[in-house]
Amino acid sequence: MSTQLKPPVNKKDHIQGDPDAPIELLEYGDYQCPHCGRAYPIIKNIQKRLGKKLKFAFRNFPLTEIHPDAFNAAVAAEAAGQQKKFWEMHDIIFEHQRLLATENILMYAKETGLNMAEFSRDIQSDVFLNKVEDDIESGIRSGVNGTPSFYVNGKKYNGSWEEEEFVNFLSQLLVRI
């Protein structure tokens, strides 16, 4: 079974941190998935602890049949990305993942300071819907088998993502680099 990230992290991805960081962490996540919600602050802490040594990227993998609002939330974050506010939207959605109906999403967009006319148009655009679909397909080809699924430097990570275990794993990688 595939354990390689396909395609590798590229300019279509949303990336946080130093682009030249030695460690690249990518998450396939679902905004309505409770496990992803629990992973969200853990990733934030890991980013703080590893600082410039880590870059983090996020791709969408909404499980639409069990999480009816997940796909729209993913599109909303992508649409916010058009106004350079992907991460602000990503964060506010994860921080309110139990409230993801359209009216909630619009409220978060407003709080994030998005141009609402543009945002309302963009969430209905095929461009962002296709981006989410492309993420899902890349996830399947990369061997995503649940959410969250993590890839470290392009390889699927099957270990624990509890903060200490994950930081230990990543730090050991740094020693070897």
């Binding site: 079974m1 595939s2 679902d30 998935c33 409770p34 496990h35 992803c36 499980l63 639409t64 049949e65 069990i66 899902i136 397909e137 399947i140 080809r141 990369s142 061997g143 995503v144 088998n145 649940g146 959410t147 099957n158």
Partner: protein, 156 residues
């Protein structure tokens, strides 16, 4: 496990409390048989929940997915409704595990099906198989690659 290249043995199992489905009913289509240990494993990492999302990719290759476990038809119904599945779950319940055993995908110690995948072509021949460690959801990529290869061979 039954090996690649042989004809997939036919069977008939309950797909709902009052309906049965035979493998031979699907002749002319590719069939993915996904044996799995038990209904109601943890949600977000669940294999059947993942395949429910990847069905549209399977359908592009004229492939139907059948999930099979030893759970009863009523248990399957509840599982299917709770996860909104759009493919049948077959109940290998009585005699318990008969079809799983026939395919070499039964764990005698646990009394459950193993996590085994088969891709069967339009003529009913097994063309790909994979046995996953029981605790690991194998994802959908292997199935998709097998389906793509089958279609690529046909084009030549």
């Amino acid at each position: 496990m039954l090996s690649v290249g042989i004809a997939a043995p036919d069977f008939e199992l309950n797909s709902t409390p009052d309906q049965k489905l035979a493998l031979s009913d699907l002749k002319g289509k590719k069939v993915i048989l996904a044996f799995y240990p038990a209904d109601f494993s943890p949600v977000c990492g669940d294999q059947m929940t993942l395949y429910n999302e990847t069905l549209r990719f399977f359908k592009k290759h004229n492939a139907e997915l059948l999930g099979i476990s030893v759970d009863s038809k009523w248990c399957h119904l509840a599982f299917s409704q709770s996860r909104n599945f759009h493919f049948p779950l077959l109940s290998d319940f009585e005699p318990k595990g008969k079809i799983s055993k026939m395919y070499g995908a039964y764990d005698e110690r646990e009394g459950e099906s193993q996590r085994a995948l088969f891709v069967i072509d339009e003529e009913g021949i097994i063309r790909w198989s994979y046995l996953s460690p029981v605790g690991i959801n194998p994802g959908a990529e292997g199935i998709l690659e097998a389906l793509e290869k089958l279609d690529a061979i046909k084009m030549h």
